[in-house]
């Protein structure tokens, strides 16, 4: 490690300190300031943090093996030693760059989007807090510290989903959505905690380097314990990254402000599960069963969510299911050992999905501030249409995002998705077929969305009066659009820039060659799907009160897709209701048995207390007697022990 590199690593703590300072400034002074200042402070904090991340990147360029930065001791209990240690290597720095880079753009965008909201200071405080937690998550060098970040982002997610806690269905809809996200995530967290417990029990350490070094020696390949550990880690990842069966919280999470959906529920936090598995790749390599489980879960999530997305009418719900589907792609990729492909897709997805969400936010903003604001219809694509002329920039960037997501070359999504498909082709045909079908559905629903929202004629008063959003919102959109176009260049087939870069952390060797058959199939299918969308929605633009033509074509399937395969209902009837019944039964038996016992206990304690109190007479004689009795007691104990 040369001196310059050391110097740059010295700046590492600033990565956290900037957003921390930003949020403290806003907490302390927010109420005295003119509102936009909070946004400017928060954005500068994020931007400065991005600069620090770049410094770390430059440092790694000089010597890419990375380092561990220890800032002090956090917990020292028995043999458990958890320092404030941070892993700076190619994987974590990549994540830092994504988090802070996209984060900065979204902060900027949010200044415009949240302008005039009374809670804007609170919003930016949460947003900065999220950055701190997310950076902690991706840079921790041991599981407990990662878990702190893990819980921190969960908390911020909860706070931001319920940011408008007085809105939503019946005035509590948004708050309920936040609670749902939190509770479902707890199920995943349990998996992570149990996995940490097992690891510590078996290895006596929770530091990444030590765990990975010892795991290969301690666990034989496929031993039940390592399978259990990795499956528990998978449960944790499934919670945070919205995989089957824990994905039901993410669509509801769209109740939060759109920048939140873009930052937390599309670009960064939901990728934590992928990061966790990629980081623990050594453990997964020891458990082939778990790897297969990971890729199957990812692929089936990708397909399931993609079908649901085809039949949604809420502009953000489409994107939410799309996010679940794309996360499925990434999970499937890392399950097959194609870590670089997974992380590559994570990065490009962060670009274009953040773009799509922000553009969708721009649409909502344009409708909301157009004079007619009816919150129920603001996100209903059936009420939009013809926004191409009224919001040209938004339309252009949305189109870029949609094409990138659909996997049309040469946009970013094409390259990353193609790598995943190529890996699946080699590893597991079932996964390949599911992912290809999902990719087809993806191109279709994005086409459907573009036509429904931007093409044809305006189908409501609100849509007629829509207008373009201010530059503070459109500039980040343009930057993200540019990234979505060129992002594929990060890991061009044959060049493998990202592959070599991540290889320093994830192990070299996984450099897939370009598979022309797979690429051609995927592209043709995508074009076919877009054509299908044009045939359904483009030829005869929908009228003001027309039903979706897909309703007739798919019949009962459409209902199935529209209702999200009734997964929510299944959870409701299969888990929540029985759980509530059990709770009721337990509550009654508690009332009958334990409350009675409790009352008896209280009576006993009260009687006992009364007796003990009577010894407290306050009379000197009695006190002296107590001392003498105590002396005798001690004497007896000493004599007969």
């Amino acid at each position: 490690m040369d001196a310059l590199q050391k110097l740059m690593f010295n700046f590492f703590p600033l990565l956290f300190l900037f957003p921390l300072a930003g949020l403290l400034l806003n907490v302390a002074n927010g109420r005295f300031w003119h509102k936009p200042i909070a946004g400017i402070i928060a954005s500068s904090a994020a931007g400065l943090s991005f600069v620090v991340a770049i410094l770390q990147w430059v440092a790694l360029l000089r010597q890419p093996d990375g380092t561990v930065i220890i800032l002090g001791t956090w917990l020292q209990v028995g043999t458990l030693n958890v320092p404030f240690a941070f892993q700076v290597d190619t994987l974590s720095v990549t994540m830092m760059l994504v988090v802070t880079g996209i984060g900065t753009l979204i902060h900027l965008y949010a200044i415009g989007y949240m302008y005039g909201d009374p809670g804007v200071t609170r919003f930016f405080v949460y947003l900065n807090l999220f950055l701190v937690a997310m950076l902690l998550l991706v840079s921790a060098a041991n599981y407990p510290l990662l878990f702190v970040g893990w819980e921190g982002v969960g908390l911020c997610s909860y706070l931001l989903i319920g940011f408008w806690f007085d809105r939503g269905e019946g005035g509590t809809g948004n708050a309920n959505a936040g609670r749902k996200a939190f509770v479902v995530n707890r199920v995943g967290d349990l998996g992570l905690i149990l996995a940490m417990g097992l690891l510590f029990w078996q290895l006596g350490t929770l530091t990444f380097d030590d765990v990975f070094a010892q795991a290969t020696a301690v666990f034989p390949v496929g031993s039940p314990l390592i399978v259990a550990i990795t499956l528990l880690l998978l449960l944790g990842a499934a919670g945070k990254s919205a995989q089957i069966p824990l994905f039901i919280w993410l669509p509801d999470a769209m109740a939060g402000p759109t920048p939140v959906s873009a930052l937390i529920h599309a670009a960064t936090m939901v990728t934590a599960g992928i990061y966790l598995i990629a980081r623990s790749h050594v453990l997964f390599a020891l458990a082939p069963v778990s790897q297969t489980a990971v890729s199957l879960i990812g692929a089936s999530t990708a397909l399931l969510a993609a079908t649901i997305a085809t039949a949604q009418f809420d502009i953000k719900r489409v994107l939410a299911y799309s996010t679940i589907s794309q996360l499925g792609f990434m999970v499937a990729a890392i399950g097959m050992g194609a870590y670089v492909a997974g992380i590559f897709h994570l990065i490009t997805h962060a670009f274009f999905k953040a773009l799509l969400f922000l553009a969708a936010g721009s649409v909502i903003h344009g409708l909301e501030h157009g004079g007619h604001s009816d919150p129920v219809t603001l996100q209903d694509m059936g009420q939009m249409g013809g926004l191409r002329q009224r919001m040209p920039i938004t339309f252009a960037v949305y189109l870029v995002g949609a094409l990138a997501l659909a996997g049309i070359p040469p946009l970013a999504g094409f390259f990353s998705k193609d790598e995943i498909l190529a890996a699946a082709w080699q590893a597991n045909r079932a996964v390949y077929i599911m992912l290809t079908l999902a990719a087809f559905a993806t191109a279709f629903y994005m086409g459907r969305q573009v036509w429904l929202v931007f093409m044809g004629e305006a189908r409501s008063e609100t849509a007629v009066s829509a207008h373009e959003s201010p530059p503070i919102m459109t500039i980040p959109l343009l930057i993200l659009a540019a990234l979505a176009i060129v992002g594929g260049g990060l890991n061009l087939p044959g060049v493998h820039t990202l592959g070599h870069w991540l290889g320093h952390t994830l192990g070299h060797g996984e450099l897939l060659s370009f598979n022309a058959t797979v690429a051609l199939t995927a592209t043709l299918l995508a074009l076919l799907a877009v054509g299908l969308a044009y045939w359904l929605y483009g030829r005869h633009p929908l009228g003001a009160a027309a039903t979706d033509p897909l309703t007739q074509r798919l019949g009962p399937l459409f209902v199935l897709f529209n209702q999200g395969w009734w997964v929510n209902e299944m959870v409701e009837w299969g888990i929540k209701r029985p759980f509530c019944h059990l709770s009721t039964v337990l509550a009654h038996s508690d009332e009958a048995i334990f409350a009675w016992a409790e009352r008896q206990l209280v009576h006993t304690v009260q009687r006992g207390t009364a007796v003990l109190r009577r010894t407290q007479t306050g009379q000197l004689n009695w006190n002296v007697a107590g001392i003498i009795v105590g002396l005798l007691l001690i004497w007896l104990l000493l004599r007969f022990s």
Partner: protein
């Protein structure tokens, strides 16, 4: 017999001399200055003296010295990390007591010039408790500690409660001191010496005489730390004494008692360890049960905190009992006392802020609705209550954790079970304060002045730090315990 001058190193006892000298200086000032001026300057002077002593003490960390060594005998005074760490606790206790007293005393009309003087004298006694290497010096320190407290307890004369409190404390204190001295005499009879190393050497051959000495000294210490069944003075005295004195006593006298108890029992009576551990464990269990159970029904915050302090003596006694068979016992006790210092003084600081007039506003009902009128201080009080209950992330939790761990290590599983169960019980009365503050409406204001707020802020901060980063501090107590025990074991 030729008399040889003992070797004396004044530097070692300089912190004690500074504190006692500060008290003497206050006496001297009263001779030559108007009383009002003395009252005005006394707190500042006390803070300066404490700060100087603190600096000197910190400088002595890591060093081991003995002094006042008569020819051919063991030194009377020993200064090791154990003593230094305890001196830090005492000096901080003094510091916080001054901070919470400075506005309280004039407000309730108790601004007597002798208050700070007596406090400093008592502090010097406490400091000697940890440094004594001879039973005679232990007794001397015990009396220097106690006698000013007897007077302080009666400071709000002619209030009958206060006078009663002082009288009761004095009579029972004298009684227990007598037993204690008797214990020293018996120990001397059994071992032929009062120097701790010589006692250590001779006590295992001392037979019943030595056991009687151990029993009587245990009674003496048990009285000072308010362990059951020697606790009965505590509620009356804590209630009757002015609240600042109660605060000072609840930490200073208790830690002082434990300082000498650890020194004497763990080292001098160490070879009898297996014999006295059951006795101390039983005393600890009784103390835990009585303190925590009776605290439930107390309507008065001072009485409640009195029983609470009895209960906490029980937890520290657990660590004392564990110290024979576990290497973590002494350090757990030291850590517990360190955390208890901040938490308890912080809670008392708020109780003082809530006391409207002398003896008014000390009922639990007076805390109703505090959260609405003074959210930050109510939050601080809630935090102290959580810490006293032992809920993370607080110093109280860390302390309990270390104590329970040491108890389990020492094989006293039943005692740990009693400790955990009584901790749960304690949640009832501690959290009731929180409940009253947050769930009710009421009036009554808090008297907040900068000094008091500083004390609250510092104690909250310290409790938080001990809760979040217990590891580093435990290392320090570990060093204190290790070095202390080694020196003692080696004489």
């Amino acid at each position: 017999m030729e008399f040889v001058t003992p070797t004396i190193n004044i530097l070692i006892v300089l912190p004690v001399l500074l504190v006692a000298g500060g008290g003497a200086l206050l006496m001297l000032l009263e001779l030559f200055m108007a009383e009002e001026r003395v009252k005005q300057w006394a707190p500042t002077l006390a803070i300066i003296v404490l700060a100087l002593a603190f600096l000197q003490t910190i400088g002595l960390w890591g060093q081991t010295h003995t002094t006042f060594t008569p020819e051919g005998s063991s030194p009377m005074v020993i200064l090791d990390n154990f003593a230094t760490f305890l001196n830090v606790i005492f000096l901080l206790t003094g510091f916080f007591t001054v901070l919470i007293s400075v506005n309280y005393l004039p407000r309730v009309g108790l601004n007597r010039s002798e208050y700070y003087m007596l406090m400093l004298f008592s502090l010097s006694g406490m400091m000697l408790m940890g440094m004594a290497n001879d039973l005679i010096l232990v007794f001397l320190a015990l009396e220097v500690l106690s006698i000013p407290l007897y007077i302080l307890a009666g400071l709000s004369r002619p209030r009958p409660e206060s006078e009663e409190s002082a009288m009761k404390y004095f009579f029972l204190g004298a009684f227990s001191s007598a037993i204690f001295v008797f214990g020293i005499a018996l120990t001397y009879g059994a071992t032929g010496s009062t120097a701790l190393p010589a006692v250590l050497a001779g006590v295992s051959n001392g037979g019943a005489l030595a056991l009687a000495g151990v029993a009587m000294m245990l009674v003496g210490f048990g009285f000072k730390v308010a362990a059951a069944p020697f606790h009965m003075w505590t509620p009356d005295v804590y209630e009757g004494a002015p609240t600042v004195v109660t605060a000072f006593m609840s930490v200073g006298a208790k830690v002082g008692g434990f300082a000498a108890m650890l020194r004497v029992f763990v080292s001098a009576f160490g070879s009898l360890g297996q014999t006295w551990v059951p006795a101390v464990a039983v005393i600890a269990a009784i103390t835990l049960i009585i303190g925590n159970v009776v605290a439930i029904v107390q309507p008065n915050i001072k009485r409640m905190l009195a029983y609470s302090s009895i209960a906490h003596a029980g937890y520290i006694l657990m660590a004392v009992a564990a110290s024979v068979n576990s290497p973590d016992g002494v350090s757990a006790a030291l850590f517990y006392m360190f955390a208890y210092l901040f938490t308890n003084l912080g809670a008392f600081a708020i109780a003082i802020a809530a006391e409207r007039k002398l003896g008014e506003g000390v009922m639990l009902d007076d805390y109703k609705g505090l959260a609405k009128r003074s959210p930050l201080l109510a939050l601080a009080m809630a935090y102290f209550m959580l810490s006293l209950t032992g809920i993370p992330p607080t110093g109280g939790f860390s302390g309990k954790f270390f104590v329970f761990r040491a108890t389990l290590e020492a094989g006293l599983v039943w005692l740990a079970v009693v400790g955990v169960i009584t901790s749960v019980v304690s949640g009832y009365y501690y959290l009731r304060v929180v409940y009253l503050m947050y769930m009710y409406d009421g009036e009554g204001e808090l008297h907040t002045k900068p000094a008091l707020l500083t004390a609250v802020a510092l104690t909250v901060l310290a409790t938080l730090v001990l809760g979040l980063l217990p590891g580093a501090w435990y290392e320090i107590t570990k060093q204190a315990a290790l070095q202390g025990l080694q020196v003692l074991a080696g004489g």
